[in-house]
Symmetry: C2
Subunit: 507 residues, 2 copies
C-alpha cells in the first residue's frame, strides 16, 4: 500500500519542491571501471572506483521498514518489476526472493522514488564478461523545475496508442513528468467524446481507426501514472478548431464575403450563448476524463479576419463597447472559458497570446511561452513574472524543427532563468516543455526525432545549471545515455559518428 496523501505531494506547485535522497551502500569489491554517468545529472553525486557485483538471481527491490509506502503500493510494485528488467536485460526473472547487499533509496514521495529507481538503473553496468556492477555512490537529488513536459500533437498526424505509450516510457528515462497531449487541432479531432461523439466521427481522419476512445485515454493516463507522468490535455480554442466544426454545427464563426456567407468558417463563434453551453459540457467531460488538476486551453494564433467579416460578430462588438479591438473579444471569450474550467476546479494553462493581448487573465492561470528568439522570450519571461503570473517555457525547445548536425546543443545551452527579474520572479518559472508539433511527424519518425534531442532539454530542466554548463562535457554522457535508450528498445538516433555495444536491431 502507498499512502495516497504522500503520493499527491508531487503535484507541481508554486514554491514547494518534492525531494528525494538516493543512498547506495552496497559494498563488495574494488574495480577500475568508472561510472559512465547518469542523465540528467543528479544535483549531488559522489562515486568511487569501488564497485560491487550484482547477482540478478539475488537482487531485489523492497520497501524500507520505516517507509510510508509498503508492499501493495501499485506504483512502486510495478516500478520494481520494470526496473529489474531494465537493469538486467539479459536475465529472465522467475523469482526475486534471495536477499543480498545493502542499498537504500529514501524519497519523500512515491514519485521521487520512481526517479531514484531510474537513477539507480543507470548506475548499473556490465563488464566485458557480462557481470553486472554498481559503483559505491551517494546521490542527493531533486528536480530544478517541477514541470518538465513533452507536447505531442495527435491532430496533424494521428499517433497510435502504442506510440504514445512507448514515448511515455522514454520520457521517464529522462525524468520528464508531464505529457502535454495536444489532442485536437484544425486538421483532425481524434478524441472520442462521450457527450459529443460527432466531433470525432466526422472530425477525425477516420471515425474508427484514427480516434482515441475513452478506454485508449484511460490506458494512456494509467500507463503515465505508473511512470510518474501527469497527462495534461489541451483543447485549444477559439482558433485551431476547424475539425471541431465538422461535428458541431453553429460552433464556428461563418465567414462572410461582403454581405453573404462565403461557406468557410473561422474561429469558435464567441457571440452565441450555445457556444458556451457546448464548451461547458465538453470541459465538464474532459475534466472528469483527465484527472490532472491542470488543463490547457490554448488561445493561440486567433485570426480576426473571419470575425471581422461577420455582421453578427460586429454587432456584438458594438453592443459590448469593444470598438474595433478584436483582442477584447478574444479576451471576453477566453475569460468565459477560464471561468468554466475554474468552476470545475481546474487550473488553466494558456499560450502566451492570451497574456500578450490582455493582461487581465485570472492570476492563477499559467502562461505558456512559445514565441520568439532568446532575446524576446526573455523579455516575455520578465514581463509575465513581473505581473505575478506563473510561466512555462517552450519557445527554445520546438524540437519539431530539425537541422543538420548536433542541434541538441542548442536545446542544452538554454538558460531558462537568465532574464531580468527578482528572485521571487524566477520562482514563478515552473518549468519547461519540449514541443513536437506534428506537421512532419507521425509514428514512423517520432521516436528518432524526439530522442535523445529531448533529453538535452530534460537535463536542463532537472539538473543544476552550474554543474551542467559545459555542452562538451555533456556530450559523451549523452552519447552513453543514448546507447542506454537503444538498449532499452528506444530508437534514439545517434549524436555523431560511433557505435553502441548493443545496436538497434529492428528494421
Amino acid at each position: 500500500m502507498c499512502n495516497m496523501e504522500v503520493m499527491c505531494i508531487v503535484s507541481f506547485g508554486r514554491y514547494t519542491r518534492p525531494k528525494f535522497n538516493l543512498v547506495l551502500l552496497i559494498i563488495l569489491q574494488l574495480s577500475l571501471h568508472t561510472v559512465e554517468g547518469v542523465w540528467p545529472l543528479p544535483q549531488s553525486f559522489t562515486s568511487s572506483t569501488e564497485r560491487y557485483p550484482l547477482n540478478p538471481k539475488a537482487f531485489y527491490f523492497g520497501y524500507g521498514r520505516q517507509s510510508a509506502a509498503q508492499q501493495d503500493c501499485s506504483v512502486l510494485d510495478a516500478a520494481f518489476k520494470r526496473y529489474f528488467s531494465l537493469i538486467f536485460p539479459d536475465y529472465t526473472s522467475d523469482n526475486l526472493s534471495v536477499s543480498a547487499g545493502q542499498a537504500s533509496l529514501n524519497a519523500e514521495t512515491v514519485w521521487g522514488a520512481l526517479r531514484g529507481l531510474e537513477t539507480f538503473s543507470q548506475l548499473v553496468y556490465q563488464d566485458d564478461f557480462g557481470t553486472y556492477f554498481v559503483n559505491k555512490t551517494e546521490i542527493d537529488d531533486f528536480p530544478r523545475f517541477q514541470f518538465r513536459g513533452i507536447l505531442l500533437d495527435t491532430s496533424r498526424h494521428y499517433l497510435p496508442v502504442q506510440a504514445i505509450l512507448k514515448t511515455l516510457d522514454a520520457m521517464a528515462y529522462s525524468k520528464f513528468n508531464v505529457f502535454h497531449w495536444h489532442i485536437v487541432d484544425d486538421p483532425s479531432f481524434p478524441y472520442q467524446s462521450r457527450t459529443f461523439p460527432d466531433l470525432s466521427s466526422t472530425g477525425a481522419f477516420h471515425p474508427m481507426t484514427h480516434i482515441y476512445t475513452q478506454s485508449d485515454v484511460r490506458r494512456v493516463i494509467s500507463h503515465a501514472r505508473l511512470w510518474g507522468i501527469r497527462v495534461l490535455p489541451e483543447f485549444d480554442s477559439p482558433g485551431h478548431t476547424q475539425s471541431w466544426g465538422k461535428g458541431q454545427s453553429d460552433l464556428l464563426t461563418p465567414c462572410y464575403r461582403g454581405s453573404t456567407p462565403s461557406g468557410t468558417f473561422g474561429p469558435v463563434n464567441p457571440v452565441l450563448p450555445s457556444t458556451y453551453q457546448f464548451m461547458a459540457r465538453l470541459f465538464k467531460e474532459v475534466s472528469s476524463v483527465f484527472p490532472d488538476s491542470y488543463i490547457h486551453l490554448g488561445g493561440d494564433e486567433v485570426d480576426f479576419s473571419c470575425w471581422k467579416s461577420n455582421p453578427d460578430v460586429r454587432a456584438f462588438m458594438q453592443k459590448m463597447g469593444f470598438g474595433g479591438d478584436f483582442t477584447k473579444l478574444e479576451a471576453f471569450y477566453m475569460e468565459k472559458i477560464v471561468n468554466i474550467t475554474s468552476a470545475l476546479k481546474k487550473t488553466s494553462i494558456v499560450w502566451q497570446d492570451v497574456f500578450d493581448y490582455h493582461e487581465r487573465i485570472p492570476k492563477d492561470t499559467v502562461l505558456h511561452i512559445w514565441k520568439g528568439t532568446p532575446a524576446s522570450y526573455k523579455e516575455e519571461l520578465s514581463r509575465m513574472t513581473k505581473a505575478g503570473m506563473r510561466v512555462l517555457l517552450a519557445a527554445p525547445w520546438y524540437i519539431n524543427h530539425i537541422a543538420y548536425g548536433q542541434d541538441w546543443r542548442n536545446y542544452y545551452t538554454v538558460q531558462p532563468l537568465n532574464f531580468s527579474g527578482t528572485e521571487e520572479q524566477k520562482k514563478l518559472v515552473i518549468g519547461g516543455e519540449v514541443c513536437m508539433w506534428g506537421e512532419y511527424v507521425d509514428a514512423t519518425n517520432l521516436t528518432p526525432r524526439l530522442w535523445p534531442r529531448a533529453s538535452a532539454a530534460a537535463e536542463r530542466l532537472w539538473s543544476d545549471e552550474k554543474q551542467t554548463s559545459s555542452v562538451d562535457e555533456a556530450f559523451p554522457r549523452l552519447q552513453d545515455f543514448r546507447c542506454k535508450l537503444v538498449r532499452r528498445g528506444i530508437r534514439a538516433e545517434p549524436l555523431h559518428v560511433g557505435h553502441c555495444k548493443h545496436e538497434y536491431q529492428g528494421v
Copy 2:
C-alpha cells in the same frame, strides 16, 4: 529457367537502354474510382475509369508462351511470390493456381520485368469494401537513366544486415537499381576480409558484432539481385583510410612533426611497393566477392599535409620529378590502383577529385560528382563530358543533410542534363545517386530519413523530365506512394499534415 544471356543485358551501358512494355488487358467492370498513380511516373501511361476486380484466390503470375524466361527462372519466380503478397497484403496465399483475367507484361529482360511487376503492384487498390481493383491501363516504360543509386555508409555507423536488406526492398519500390556500399572509411572497417582478417578484427567497432562476414555480403548481394539491384562496393583510398591502418602495418603514411614521427598517420603511403602488393591482393578478393563489373575506388578529399611532412614521401617526389605538386603523387597513386582493378576486368568509378586534380585518368573510368552548388556541378558536368568521360551525379542528392519542411522538393526539381554541352555529352551522364552519409544515421533513423525523400530523386532518374516538371502535381502522388511504402512496412516519414488509411503500427 531464365536465359542468363538475357538477364545480363541489364548491366548499364553507355548507350543501350533496357526497355520494357507493360500492357494490362484485364477487362471486367466499370468504376468511378480513379487510379492514384504510380511512382516514379511511367514514360507513357494511359488509364481509364474502367476497373476490374481482382480475386486473390484466382490471381496468379505466369510466364507468357513466347517468353524467353520460363518457370524456374529464380529471379522472376521469387518476384511473383513477393509481389503477390505486396498486392494482396490481407490475403494469406496457399496456392495461386486458378487462372482468370488477361494482363500481359512484356519486357526485354528479366530486370525490366521486375520493374513492370512493381508498376503493376502500384496500380492495384482496394475499394472501401476491401475488394481489389485494377483500372484498364496501358503503360510503355523504360528508365531515363541507367544508374539510379543509393549510397549507404556503414563505416561512420554500422548498419545491421537486416537494415540493409530492408533498404534494398524499399529501393526496388522506387525503381532504384544500384546499391553503392560505402563499406569502409576512417571510423571503422567492418568488411571481414578473407585475405586480411586483421583489417576488421582491429579496425571494426567490434570484431564480432560490428562486421560484415563473407556470408553477410553474399546475403546482401543475392537479396539485391532478386530485386534487380546491383551492389557496387567502395573501398575508398588513399584518404579516408584511418581504420585500415589499425590492421595493416606500414599501410598508412607516418606523419612527422619536424624530423620525428608524430605518432599519427595520414593517407595510404604511396611510396612503398608493399602498399601496391597489399592493394592488389585486397582488390583481387573484393573483385571476386562482389560480382558487379563496377568498383568504386574513392579518391576523394586527400589531405596532403601528412605526405608533405614525411621525408620519405618528399624524397620520392623528388625522384619522380613531381616537384612540390602533391596532386601528381595522388594521380600516380590512383593510376596504380585503377590499373590493378582494370587488370581484374573491373570498370572503376572515382569521386570527382581525381579528375579535378589530373585529367589523365583512363577514359573508361566513371567520374562521380559530389561537390558544389547547382552552378558549379553543372560546370563540372560540362567539363567532364567534354573530356569524353562518363559521369554520375550525386551532388544535389546529399540526403543526409536535413532541413525542416519539404526538402524533397529540392531533390525533385534537379535537372541533371541542364548543363551546357552537346547531345553526345548528355549521353555520358549515366545516372545519379542519393548519398546517405552516416555521421548522424544508423539503424534507428535510416529508414524515415531515406523514405520518401529518396523517392523524389528516384522519379527524377526514372521518369521523363517534361512529364514531371511540376513539383506540386507530384505532391499528392508522392503522398500516396508514401502511404504505399508504410503499408508495405517501410517506416517512410510523412510529407505534411494528413494520414494514411493504414498507419505505421510499429513503435
